[in-house]
C-alpha cells in the first residue's frame, strides 16, 4: 500500500499564470516586446508618435473658432501657436455648396440624402438588423440637415416617406424603381427650372419601353428594339420640349433655376462622382460586353477606347473638356464647363468600369454561360437573366473602389479653375481676411474626403465578406 501513497487522487487547484504572462504586462510582452527587433520597432514607434503629438497637440488645443479673419485670430492667440478653425466656420457654407444660392441650399441637401435612399436597396438587400438601426439614425440626421437648411415641409415629408418605405419589406424591393428615377429627380433638384422637362425626358424611356413591349411579340426582338429606340430619339428631339412647355403652362412645377457655374465645394465633388458612376455603369457594361465578344471589329473599337482612356491622365481629359470639347461638337453648341467636365468624367470612369465588369464576367464559371446556352436563351436574355446579375454582384467591390478613386479625382477640377473644395481653398487664401492661412483648410478638406472614402472602403470590405461564398 505504501507505494500507492505517491498517487494523487484529486487534481490540484490550478495556479494562476505568472504575472508576466497576463494582464497589461503579459499583453505588452507578447505584442510589443516579444524580441529585440520588436522592442526596437516599438521604441521607434513611440518616438514617432511622441514627436507627432508634441508637434500637433498644442496647436490643436489652442484652436480658435470665433474669428472672422486671420488677423483677428492672431490677436486672440497672442503670439502662441494655434489652429484658426474660424476659417472653416466662416466659410463652411461655401466649402459645402460653392456659390449655390443660400435660400435654395436645401435642394442639394435633399438630393444628397435621397441619394442614400436610392442606393440603399442596391447596397443592402435585405437590410440586416444593425443597418435598420443605423438607417433610423440616418433618417433623423437627414431630417435635421433639411431643417437647418430651411427646406419646405414637403421636402421633409418626401424624404421621410422614401426613407421609411425601405423598412416595409413588400415596398423595399419596389424601391429599386426609385433608384432608377433618382438621376432625374437629382437633375431637377440641382438645376431647378420646370420639372416637366425632366419628366418628358423620362417619358422618352417609358414610351420606348412600351413600344418595345408592344412590338416584340409581333415583329421580333431586333426590329422592336430598333423601332423603340428610333421612336424614343424622335420624342426627345422633336416632341419632348413642346410637351414640357405645354404641360408647364397647365400645371407649373417650378424650382428656381440655378446655373451650374454656381456649383462648387463638396457638392460639386459629390455631383461629379455620382454622375460619373451612374453614367459610367451602362457605358461600362456595354464596353465590357463588347470587349468580351467574338466580333472582331466591335472588340477592337472597345479595346481601343478603353486603353486610350486608361492610358492618359485624367487631367489631360479635363483639359480636353475645358478647351476642346466645344470644337468637337456642331458649330454653335455651347455647353457649360461643368457639363463638359461631367461628360469627360463619365467617359473616363466608364473605361475603368468596363475593366471592373470585365473582371466580373471573367470570374463567372464557364458553366454559367454554357447553361444559359443550353436553356436556349439568346445572347441578350442570357446576359440579362443569368450572366449580368452574377457578374455585377461579383464586381460591386470593384465598382465601389472605382467610385472612391473617381471621388478623389474630382479634386483635379480645381486645376482647370472649377471651385471644388480645393479650388475654394485657394480662393479663400487669396481673400484679404484669410490671406496666409494654410493648414486648417487642407486639414479640413482632407478630413471630409477621409470620412467619405473611409466609409465607402469599409462598406466595400463588408460586402466582400458577405459575397464570399467560398469556404
Amino acid at each position: 500500500m505504501s507505494e500507492q501513497s505517491y498517487v494523487r487522487d484529486e487534481m490540484l487547484p490550478e495556479l494562476p499564470p505568472p504575472a508576466t504572462e497576463v494582464g497589461v504586462i503579459g499583453w505588452m510582452r507578447e505584442n510589443l516586446f516579444s524580441g529585440w527587433l520588436n522592442t526596437i520597432l516599438t521604441l521607434a514607434g513611440i518616438v514617432i508618435v511622441y514627436f507627432a503629438v508634441a508637434a500637433a497637440l498644442p496647436w490643436f488645443l489652442n484652436s480658435v473658432w470665433n474669428a472672422n479673419s486671420l488677423s483677428e485670430c492672431r490677436e486672440i492667440l497672442e503670439g502662441e501657436a494655434g489652429a484658426c478653425w474660424g476659417v472653416i466656420r466662416d466659410r463652411f457654407n461655401q466649402l459645402m455648396f460653392g456659390f449655390y444660392p443660400h435660400e435654395e441650399q436645401w435642394r442639394p441637401v435633399l438630393a444628397f440624402v435621397l441619394l442614400f435612399v436610392a442606393i440603399a436597396p442596391i447596397l443592402f438587400n435585405p437590410m440586416p438588423l444593425e443597418m435598420k438601426i443605423a438607417w433610423g439614425g440616418f433618417i433623423i440626421f437627414g431630417l435635421w440637415l433639411l431643417w437647418i437648411t430651411g427646406a419646405p415641409i414637403l421636402a421633409h415629408l418626401a424624404f421621410l416617406v422614401a426613407g421609411l418605405a425601405l423598412y416595409y419589406e413588400p415596398w423595399a424591393r419596389k424601391m429599386l424603381f426609385f433608384s432608377a428615377l433618382y438621376p432625374f429627380i437629382m437633375v431637377w433638384l440641382m438645376w431647378g427650372g420646370s420639372a416637366w422637362y425632366v419628366i418628358s425626358a423620362l417619358l422618352g424611356f417609358v414610351i420606348g419601353y412600351l413600344i418595345y413591349r408592344l412590338l416584340e411579340p409581333i415583329m421580333g426582338f431586333l426590329i422592336a428594339v430598333i423601332v423603340s429606340v428610333l421612336v424614343a430619339i424622335g420624342w426627345w428631339f422633336f416632341l419632348a420640349a413642346p410637351f414640357a412647355a405645354w404641360m408647364a403652362g397647365i400645371i407649373p412645377l417650378e424650382l428656381t433655376p440655378v446655373e451650374s457655374r454656381k456649383f462648387g465645394g463638396l457638392m460639386l465633388s459629390v455631383m461629379l462622382g455620382v454622375t460619373g458612376i451612374v453614367g459610367s455603369l451602362p457605358l461600362g457594361i456595354v464596353l465590357a460586353l463588347a470587349r468580351q465578344s467574338d466580333l472582331l471589329i466591335v472588340k477592337t473599337i472597345s479595346v481601343g477606347f478603353i486603353e486610350f482612356i486608361r492610358g492618359v491622365p485624367l487631367i489631360t481629359l479635363l483639359f480636353v473638356a475645358s478647351t476642346l470639347l466645344n470644337i468637337f461638337l456642331p458649330p454653335g453648341t455651347e455647353f457649360d464647363i461643368i457639363l463638359r467636365v461631367m461628360i469627360m468624367v463619365t467617359l473616363f470612369a466608364s473605361a475603368y468600369m468596363a475593366e471592373v465588369i470585365r473582371g466580373g464576367l471573367a470570374a463567372l464559371p464557364r458553366g454559367q454561360y454554357e447553361a444559359a446556352d443550353a436553356l436556349g436563351l439568346d445572347y441578350w436574355k442570357a446576359q440579362r437573366l443569368i450572366i449580368m446579375p452574377q457578374a455585377l454582384k461579383i464586381s460591386i467591390p470593384g465598382i465601389v473602389s472605382t467610385f472612391i478613386g473617381l471621388f478623389k479625382d474630382t479634386t483635379l477640377v480645381s486645376i482647370i479653375g472649377l471651385l471644388d473644395m480645393l479650388g475654394l481653398a485657394n480662393a479663400i487664401r487669396a481673400t484679404t481676411a484669410w490671406n496666409g492661412i494654410i493648414w486648417e483648410l487642407y486639414i479640413f478638406i482632407a478630413f471630409v474626403f477621409f470620412i467619405f472614402c473611409f466609409a465607402m472602403s469599409r462598406y466595400s470590405m463588408y460586402l466582400e465578406r458577405k459575397l464570399q461564398t467560398g469556404h
Binding site: E30, N31, L32, S34, N38, L41, T42, G45, I46, I48, V49, L222, D294, L295, L296, I297, V298, I301, E307, F308, R310, G311, V312, P313, L314, I315, T316, F319, V320, T323, L324, N326, I327, F328, L329, P330, P331, I404, K408, D409, T411, L412, S414, I415, L422, I438, W439, Y442, I445, A446, F449, F450, C453, F454, S457
Partner: protein, 422 residues
C-alpha cells in the same frame, strides 16, 4: 441504319442577315463599323468647321518656333529662345525623372510598410494602418499641395544658416525653404560629354551624356555579367558534384573593385553646397516643387504598394513554408526559393499598374508649378500659341506611349510567369 445528312443548303436571302447566326455577326460588325466611322467623321467634320471659323487650321509648325518662356527645373540645356519642341522635351524628361524617382522610393517605402503591417507588433501594426488609410482615403492632389506647403513653410530660410539658427545635415545637406541642396558628384579627370542629335530640328532634341557615367555603367555591368558567369559555373559544379564552391567574395570583388578603381582614376569627389550671399550655390538643388511632388506621389503610391505586398505574402499558404521546411531547406532558402517566386507572381502585375498610376499622376505637377510635360506642352505652350488641338493631341500621344510601354512590359512579364495549367 440511319444516315445523317447535312441540312440542305438554303439559298441566301436578305433576311438571313438578321436571323441566321452565321451572317448576323457580320451584319452587326458592319453596322458597328459604319456607326463608328460615321461618329468619327461627324466629330472630324465639326472640328474642321469650328477651326475654320476660328481661323486656325491644324498645323504643328509652331513647335519649331521660339518658346519664349523659361523653365527653372531642367535636366538639359534650355533657354527661352529655344523651340517649343525643346520645351516639351525638357518637360518630358522632368516627367520621366519624377516618375522613375517616385517608383523607386514608393517601392522601398511600400515594401517596408507592407511587411511591417504584417508584424505582430501592435503599435507598429496600428501606425502602419493609420498611414495606409490616411494615404488611400485622401486625394493625391491634396497630398501634393499639402507637402508643398510643408516644404516651403517649415524649413529654415537660407539666411538662418548664416546666423547659425539652422545647421546643415552632416555638413553637406542643406534643407531650406527654397529647396534641398545635396552634394553633387564631380570628376577631376573628366572624360567630357558626348552630344547627340545636335542640329536636328533646330536643336530641339539634342542632349549630352557624360562619358564618365557611360564608362562607370559599362564597367559595373561588365562586373555583373562576369559575376553571373561565376554563379553559373558554381551551379554546374554543384549539379555535378553536390559541393558548391564558395564564390561570394569573388563575385563581390568582381562587381565592385573595377568600379571603384575607375571612380578613383576619374578623380571622383563630391561638390558641397556653400552659402553665398542670400542663397546656397554648388551641389544639386532639389527644388521645392520637385521634392513635394516626388515625396507626395511616393508616399501615396507606397500605401497602395504596401497593400499589394501584404496581400501577396498572405496569399502564400502556410503549407508552402512547412513543406519547404520538411524538404530540409533553411529559412533564407525557403524565402528565396519557395515563398518569393510565388509571392512575386502575385505582387508584380498590380505593382506595375501602380507604377503606371504614379506615372499618370505626375501630371498633377502643374498644381505645384513643377514643369513637367503637362506644364510645358499642355500648359504654357498651349496658352501662348492657342494651339489646343495640336498640343493636347501630342500630350495624350506621349502619355499613351509611356502607358502602353509600361503595360507591354507587364504583359510580357505575365506571359512569362503564367502558370501553365492543363
Amino acid at each position: 441504319m440511319s444516315s445523317m445528312t447535312d441540312t440542305p443548303r438554303q439559298p441566301f436571302r436578305l433576311s438571313m442577315l438578321i436571323y441566321d447566326s452565321r451572317y448576323r455577326s457580320i451584319t452587326i460588325q458592319v453596322v458597328a463599323l459604319i456607326g463608328f466611322i460615321a461618329g468619327v467623321a461627324w466629330i472630324v467634320n465639326n472640328t474642321i468647321q469650328n477651326l475654320a471659323t476660328l481661323g486656325k487650321s491644324p498645323d504643328f509648325g509652331f513647335l519649331l518656333e521660339p518658346a519664349g518662356y523659361d523653365i527653372n527645373q531642367r535636366l538639359i540645356e534650355y533657354h527661352s529662345q529655344m523651340t517649343h519642341a525643346r520645351a516639351a522635351f525638357v518637360g518630358l524628361l522632368n516627367t520621366l525623372l519624377v516618375a522613375v524617382a517616385g517608383c523607386v522610393l514608393a517601392t522601398i517605402i511600400g515594401v517596408f510598410v507592407g511587411i511591417l503591417r504584417l508584424s505582430k507588433n501592435w503599435l507598429i501594426g496600428r501606425l502602419m494602418t493609420v498611414y495606409v488609410e490616411a494615404q488611400r482615403n485622401v486625394p493625391v492632389l491634396l497630398w501634393i499641395v499639402f507637402l508643398m506647403a510643408i516644404v516651403s513653410e517649415i524649413p529654415p530660410r537660407p539666411a538662418d544658416f548664416r546666423s547659425g539658427e539652422a545647421q546643415m545635415l552632416f555638413d553637406s545637406i542643406a534643407v531650406t525653404n527654397r529647396g534641398i541642396y545635396i552634394p553633387e558628384p564631380l570628376f577631376a579627370n573628366s572624360l567630357g560629354d558626348v552630344t547627340v542629335l545636335k542640329g536636328v530640328l533646330k536643336d530641339s532634341f539634342y542632349f549630352s551624356i557624360s562619358l564618365d557615367l557611360i564608362v562607370l555603367l559599362a564597367v559595373f555591368l561588365g562586373g555583373l555579367v562576369i559575376s553571373g558567369l561565376i554563379k553559373r559555373r558554381a551551379d554546374r559544379i554543384q549539379e555535378a558534384t553536390g559541393e558548391r564552391p564558395t564564390t561570394w567574395y569573388l563575385r563581390l570583388g568582381i562587381v565592385f573593385l573595377p568600379t571603384l578603381a575607375v571612380l578613383y582614376m576619374l578623380g571622383f569627389h563630391l561638390g558641397y553646397p556653400v552659402l553665398k550671399g542670400f542663397n546656397f550655390t554648388g551641389g544639386i538643388h532639389l527644388r521645392n516643387s520637385f521634392v513635394a511632388l516626388w515625396i507626395a506621389l511616393s508616399l501615396y503610391t507606397a500605401a497602395f504598394i504596401a497593400e499589394i505586398v501584404r496581400a501577396g505574402i498572405m496569399a502564400i499558404s502556410r503549407g508552402q513554408t512547412e513543406a519547404a521546411a520538411a524538404l530540409g531547406l533553411r529559412g533564407g532558402k525557403i524565402m528565396s526559393l519557395v515563398i518569393l517566386p510565388q509571392a512575386l507572381r502575385i505582387i508584380i502585375p498590380p505593382l506595375i499598374s501602380q507604377y503606371l498610376n504614379l506615372t499618370k499622376n505626375t501630371s498633377l505637377a502643374i498644381a505645384v508649378g513643377y514643369m513637367d510635360i503637362t506644364g510645358t506642352l499642355g500648359g504654357i505652350t498651349l496658352n501662348q500659341t492657342g494651339r489646343e488641338l495640336e498640343c493636347l493631341l501630342l500630350l495624350m500621344l506621349i502619355y499613351l506611349t509611356i502607358s502602353l510601354s509600361i503595360s507591354s512590359v507587364m504583359n510580357w512579364y505575365n506571359e512569362r510567369v503564367k502558370l501553365t495549367e492543363r
